[in-house]
């Protein structure tokens, strides 16, 4: 059967499990859009291509499926760069299909020509420029496979206009056939038995073990195995920012987040442990603080699917290149129980003595709003954040009990991620209520997607913790630049509730702490998107805090406390 390039891409997306696309059309992608319409391929029209990438990212993180992002050439394609980079940093799969000028004009600075291939190399797992329609079938199959297997990540297919209409013979393939000669890449090795033995020995020897569980637990579908292991071996678990949900936040063994804005007890446990088992986390600098002073007394075990992560930042005694789930399955059959009541008692005492806390002063405290969101949603929602102080408070005060219930931009820290990611998350898991905790700065960067939420009636509940500041930067200026608040203040914050109404979205303006709970309850009842503009305490800071570049033991607990941890 003869099909056009555009038809082949649609057929292959469908055949390989891509069920939805987010995008915006334009000149160089029109033939493909024509086919999207004819084939009725599900598509959400966004208001900005960056939004489309974050939607696909949020969709993937909650559903485990991959979505397509479709843009025109030139500016459409370059607008995806931030979103691709974000997905690359956080190992989230996206298949981006970008229009390109016709092959004979490539390289002539044609209208809306950009070197999408070149621009996207550093922000993708792999990318293709397809110049021959006969390659398309194989490329689309490979694109989906590369994006979703091994350590997931974004890919780009640059799709010239003439290739979109070129005709070629097309034969459907089985899902597992590759159609390309290339050998399968990213083979995941079996866990090395010697290393596992060493790990088991260390476990038996250890009096003070601790686990750091990263996003690998979630991406690797290993949450149940982790819970079994931690509970039966009685080892406290720290979750990284992106690992949240990989271990139940309600479990007594849960220690919260490590590092810069981690809990005091997580950092204390890291400083004191004699065995640190990192399962699918990447020892980010926000986690380790000063590397030389990180977990100083511990034997360090690191399990990761990506060889390039092992030993990258932290010297590792037992590196294990494997799927975390396979390793945990082995540990669950082989690890022996050991009595470590002294250690568990110590950790328990830290939790009691150094809890997360904030003061009451009659203003709306951002932490309080988050606690109320947790209660109103009964911890059953999908929670999304922007980037800044509110993100840290959300990670500290929410309790995630399931994998894929927390979506946040970790590696890149992309302000503007929140709203589009929420829309994608709602599309990916429509059965779960989506709550976005955003900052006024972050929200402003992508609020245009309110139009998308309104158009498709995607019921995301948006809580803006509005402090009239780029709060996180202000906090650093307060602490490290002697309160010189250089360009972080928004004295004229817009009326976000009114803006929402302008988009046809319900808006609430909340200035009084007594209205927080009732507003959230009302929002939960509304069948549609809602914006709640909470005027929170403007100079609230995130505590505890490890100053940038310091060791985790130099953590400061807060203004009330001059106590340091050592």
């Amino acid at each position: 059967m003869e099909l056009s390039g555009s038809q082949i891409v649609i057929e292959e997306l469908k055949a390989n499990g891509v069920e939805i696309a987010f995008g915006i059309p334009g000149g160089a992608i029109m033939p493909f859009y024509d086919e999207i319409m004819k084939s009725e391929f599900p598509h959400i029209l966004t208001r900005h291509e960056q939004g489309a990438t974050h939607m696909a990212d949020g969709y993937a993180r909650v559903s485990g499926k991959v979505a397509a992002v479709i843009t025109t050439s030139g500016p459409g394609a370059t607008n995806t760069i931030t979103g691709l980079c974000n997905a690359q940093m956080d190992s989230s799969p996206i298949v981006a299909i970008t229009g390109q000028v016709a092959t004979p004009t490539i390289g002539t600075d044609a209208f809306q020509e950009a070197d999408t291939y070149g621009c996207s190399i550093p922000v993708t797992k792999h990318n293709w420029l397809v110049k021959d329609v006969r390659e398309l079938q194989g490329v689309v199959r490979e694109a989906v496979r590369v994006a979703t297997t091994g350590r997931p990540g974004p890919v780009v297919i640059d799709f010239p206009k003439d290739v979109q209409v070129a005709m070629t013979e097309y034969n459907p393939l089985e899902k597992t056939e590759t159609a390309l000669s290339a050998e399968p890449v990213f083979r995941i090795p079996e866990p090395d038995t010697k290393a596992i033995e060493r790990l088991l020995e260390e476990l038996e020897r250890s009096e003070k073990p601790v686990i750091i569980a990263g996003a690998g637990i979630i991406k690797g579908g290993a949450a149940a195995e982790l819970a079994e292991f931690a509970r039966s071996a009685e080892i406290p678990v720290i979750n990284t920012l992106l690992g949240m949900g990989g271990f139940p936040g309600s479990d007594p063994l849960f220690l919260g987040m490590p590092g810069m804005h981690g809990t005091a007890y997580a950092n204390m446990a890291l400083c004191e442990c004699d065995l640190l088992i990192n399962l699918g986390g990447r020892f980010d600098d926000r986690v380790t603080g000063k590397v030389a002073e990180f977990a100083p007394g511990a034997t360090i075990v690191h399990v990761d699917i990506d060889a390039a992560e092992l030993g990258k930042r932290v010297e590792t005694d037992i590196p294990i290149l494997a799927d975390v789930r396979d390793v945990l399955a082995l540990l669950n059959t082989q690890a022996r129980k050991k009595d470590r009541q002294a250690w568990l008692g110590k950790v328990e005492a830290w939790k009691r003595d150094y809890p997360l806390q904030y003061d009451w002063d009659g203003s709306i405290k951002p932490q309080y709003v988050i606690e109320q969101i947790q209660e109103v949603s009964e911890g059953e929602g999908t929670y999304i954040s922007g980037v800044g102080q509110h993100q840290m408070w959300a990670a500290q005060y929410l309790r995630f009990n399931e994998p894929n219930s927390w979506v946040s931009s970790g590696g890149l820290g992309t302000m503007g991620f929140g709203l589009p990611a929420s829309i994608g998350a709602k599309v990916g898991r429509p059965d779960r209520e989506v709550w976005l905790i955003d900052g006024d700065g972050s929200f402003s960067m992508s609020l245009v997607e309110l139009a998308t939420a309104a158009t498709y009636n995607i019921p995301v509940k948006i809580a803006i913790l509005n402090n009239n500041y780029l709060g996180m930067v202000r906090q650093w200026q307060e602490l490290f630049f002697e309160k010189r608040y250089s360009h972080v203040h928004f004295p004229k914050s817009p009326d976000f509730a009114k803006i929402a109404e302008g988009y046809g979205v319900r808006g609430f303006d909340v200035k009084d702490v007594d209205q927080v709970r009732s507003t959230l309850e009302q929002a939960a009842e509304i069948d549609g998107p809602v914006v709640m503009n909470f005027h929170v305490n403007q100079e609230e800071n995130v505590w505890p805090m490890v100053p940038s570049g310091a060791g985790n033991h130099e953590m400061q607990l807060g203004p009330q406390s001059t106590e340091k941890l050592t």
Binding site: S181, A182, K312
Partner: protein
């Protein structure tokens, strides 16, 4: 430290950008890069000589292996590989110096490509060690023009009698 990477890649468009871009993006300096076909028509061998800290070079090898079109990455050891480079150099050599230059060329097994009234152009190949000594010897006369291919290399299973690289 200086390291020679032998990288076998799929013969696809763009693969050189992926490989060289990785070095550039991560701030690693490339001293030379040479690419050419292999016994397998679908594969190309890229040899890159790079400078960096040992851990950094280890890290880049891992990063290279993650690239889709990279089939194989080897960090070559000098006594387990053979390395060669081709040098073309035009050397100032008036009539009175010409014999000396030709003698040096002869001693290094270099071929003479061209001779003018006041220059000699020669072609020499060899390992890193040899080409460096030759170039140093010729510099005394003045090299007015030079081109080098960059190193190519093949790994060997047995020990080879290659020299340690000069620092």
């Amino acid at each position: 430290m200086r390291q020679v990477f032998s990288i076998l890649v799929n013969n696809h468009a763009g693969v050189l950008s992926h490989v060289s871009g990785l070095f550039a993006r991560r701030g690693y300096n490339i001293e030379s890069i040479a690419a050419g076909p292999t016994e397998n028509p679908e594969a190309t061998r890229i040899v890159i000589v790079a400078f960096g800290e040992e851990e950094t070079l280890e890290q880049i090898a891992h990063q290279l292996r993650k690239l889709y079109d990279v089939l194989e990455v080897e960090q070559l050891q000098y006594n387990r590989s053979v390395t060669r480079e081709l040098v073309l150099a035009t050397v100032s050599a008036d009539a009175d110096k010409r014999t000396e230059v030709l003698q040096i060329a002869n001693a290094f097994g270099a071929n003479i490509v061209n001779i003018t009234d006041n220059t000699v152009t020669l072609e020499a190949s060899g390992n890193d060690h040899k080409t460096r000594i030759l170039i140093k010897a010729l510099e005394r006369y003045g090299i007015s023009n030079m081109a080098r291919t960059g190193m190519i290399a093949l790994p060997f299973d047995e020990m080879t009698d290659e020299w340690e690289p000069l620092a």
